[in-house]
Amino acid sequence: MKNRIRSLVGAAAVSSMMLVGAAAQAAEDTIKVGILHSLSGTMAISETTLKDAMLMLIDEQNKKGGVLGKKLEAVVVDPASDWPLFAEKARELISVDKVDVVFGCWTSVSRKSVLPVFEELNSILFYPVQYEGEESQRNVFYTGAAPNQQAIPAVDYLADAEGVERWVLAGTDYVYPRTTNKILETYLLDKGVAPEDIMINYTPFGHSDWQTIVSDIKTFGSAGKKTAVVSTINGDANVPFYKELANQGIKAEDIPVVAFSVGEEELAGLDTAPLVGHLAAWNYFMAIDTPENVDFIAKWKAFIGNDKRVTNDPMEAHYIGFNMWVKAVEAAGTTSADSVIDSLVGVAVPNLTGGYSAMMPNHHITKPVLIGEIQADGQFDTVWRTPGLVPGDAWSDFLPGSKDLISDWRKPMSCGNFNTATGKCGGA
């Protein structure tokens, strides 16, 4: 019987040794870049592409000679769409693999899960996906859109260009749609839309039977006023949603749907001919005709070895974020987190839509907002874009709890939630 105990203790000892050993291997002649995207589980569908995009960017940079004279080395892990595992893997990347920066996360919950880790171990995370805002953390750089860089311009466009007066806010029941819809609701009411002209609907993750909801939308839309759907429906549920829309014959001319989570990648799984004219609001479209973008797409297709693969907005966000990091590291002359965090603010790099994006003091970036209509070939045609760049707003002006908050990580303020009403850092 004693043997059994010995083997138990042994197993535990071996597992701890394994970890220690892995830590000891960290070599010093490269700069390590962590990639924290799910390669399995429910989110693999979206995140795997971003992992590949990062590998390509790192590859490109190494061809240019790396950073600070050192080659970059990608460290890929799979957090498997499991949120506590995100935190564990983030910790592993930073403290075992000793990476200098991490690019990763897609869902809000995964970001929330790793936040304390980046704070505790003082490292850097670049987060490339549009999100609900209401956050600004010293160690995180948000290269995706905040609600004011996506949702509000989209609603403005529909109201002005299409004369929409009645709104369906349809979303998956999680934080991003909830917050976005809260913001939009306040915004629309402020604009004078009557409360009965707003319908809010939430569905569970992976909802696949849209018959009832689509027919509800149809009914709601036949009340004599021009109606549009603002969709914050999450990835997986979109395909059946759009298939049902097409089959029930809802045309974009009648009830346009504007989506914030549907990009080229999602459309690749669909026959888009019946969906022509439905809209999406992003900061990047693959169809944008700029030299930078053409070059990026060509490199991407070559890297992935598939001529049919598409690019999308979060990939551009990584492109911007990565180049910002490279520039900031070169400016700081070191990869040490504190210096890089300081020198990142104010860095501007070209984006893929023909301009420069700059890192703001609130760790969000400036971006153009584009409204595109779905085309039969699965691409978007830009029908409207903001005249200039829109700076990302960490704290929404349309939520009662956050309208007084601002964020500025420059010294001397160095605060993510400074309350302008009380003049204190810390929200109060």
């Binding site: 394994m18 890929v76 799979d78 693999d97 809000s108 929330k112 304390p116 939630n417």
Partner: protein, 386 residues
């Protein structure tokens, strides 16, 4: 009475295990807190919280095995109890944040502020006190288990049917907790914890403390399980597992026995969840996912069902493998994990401990062919019985 009950479980093997566990915790503590970083013997904090997490999983696996291995009730919904315990602890930790949240609201957690809650929902009352939360950690899962078990066992739902409705239970809870209207933070769950009982949750000392608490909880869980299994009740449970209706005809109310052990198991799972949350820093409805509950059963199967040490070993082995593979071969680790499950069921029907038992039996047979009747502890070791 109680001490006698506890002592009954304390055989030599368990005592040795407890001593070994204690020594292990002390060694890790020294390695983490007193040996300077950079030394070969230093145990990084990363490893400490990782092992703390494994120990929580081990306790969880033990609770699954208590009902499956000893009473024959296969639960595919134990994740629900684990998560409920976790939520109870998470709610306490949320309340501890106080004004350090981004909106600095003294009572409302951040997610409630931006979802426009005006006041704290009633079910959040009391969670600012640790003792209340601690009671709820046990009470919430135990109550759910009691109600569910009372219904199911009384109606004699057994076997696969029971497994499927436990799965339906955790699935329903998954959907419910995903709803933001429930007031548990929806998909984002509860995060951004600051401190526990006044200790900074990110400090090395607290992490070490949580690790030690997990080890302690596991040892206590083991003692309780052992005592239960060694009692007459434990014998009745095994009888139920092997021949349920025979047990009934002997006059035992099988449903009461199942209900007792089911509720106990849920409480243990809840404790595991409560210790898990501060160490991983998040609790979210994902823990209710049926796939998670299935995985727990797999830990037990890998380690050895119907033994007390098997599930502990299985939980640590499988999760250790997961940690290692997701880092070392992130693209294809599911192949390794899937193959492990298939391989274990095919080649190690009694788990890793069963393999060990088999090898030793063979070894003993060759060494002492004449010695026939080896008396195994038949209650805790059906795997070695044949």
């Amino acid at each position: 009475m109680i001490s006698k009950f506890i002592l009954r479980g304390l055989d030599g093997r368990l005592t040795a295990f407890l001593i070994a566990a204690l020594a292990y915790v002390v060694l890790i503590a020294i390695g983490n807190l007193f040996i300077p970083e950079g030394s070969f013997l230093h145990v990084p904090t990363y490893a400490v919280s990782l092992m703390g997490k494994y120990l929580c999983y081990a306790l969880l696996a033990l609770s699954v095995d208590l009902v499956w291995g000893f009473a024959g009730v296969l639960s595919l919904g134990h994740g629900a109890f684990f998560a409920l315990g976790g939520y109870a602890m998470g709610m306490y930790l949320m309340r501890q944040i106080g004004t350090r949240g981004v909106y600095a609201d003294p009572t409302l957690p951040d997610f409630m502020v931006f979802l426009n809650y005006k006041e704290l929902p009633w079910f959040w009352y009391g969670f600012d006190m640790f003792w209340f939360a601690a009671i709820m950690v046990v009470l919430a899962p135990a109550t759910l288990a009691f109600v569910f078990g009372w219904l199911a066992f009384r109606s004699r739902v057994t076997g696969v049917y029971l497994s499927i409705i436990t799965q339906a239970m955790t699935f329903a809870l998954l959907l419910a907790f995903f709803r933001n209207d429930m007031g548990f933070g929806g998909n984002n769950g509860l995060t951004d914890f600051k401190d526990i009982l006044g200790f900074d949750i990110q400090s090395d000392g607290t992490r070490m403390g949580l690790f030690a608490a997990s080890a302690l909880a596991l040892c206590l869980g083991l003692i309780i399980c052992k005592a239960v299994v060694a009692s007459k009740l434990g014998k009745v449970l095994v009888a139920v597992r092997d021949a349920e209706s025979r047990t009934r005809f002997l006059g035992y109310r099988v449903e009461h026995y199942k209900l007792f052990v089911w509720t106990l198991s849920a409480a243990l799972a809840g404790i595991a969840g409560a210790l898990y949350v501060p160490q991983v820093g998040i609790i979210n409805p994902g823990e209710f996912a049926p796939a998670n509950s299935i995985e727990m059963v797999i830990w037990v199967a890998v380690g050895g069902r119907g033994t007390l040490y098997g599930p502990i070993l299985g939980a640590i082995l499988v999760n250790g493998a997961k940690t290692y593979f997701t880092g070392a071969i992130p693209e294809i680790w599911l192949f390794a994990l899937g193959a492990l499950f298939v391989g274990v069921t095919l080649f190690l029907p009694k788990g890793v401990l069963g393999l060990y038992g088999m090898l030793r039996q063979r070894f003993e047979k060759t060494r002492a062919p004449r010695e026939t009747k080896r008396t195994a502890d038949p209650v805790s070791q059906p795997s070695e019985a044949e």
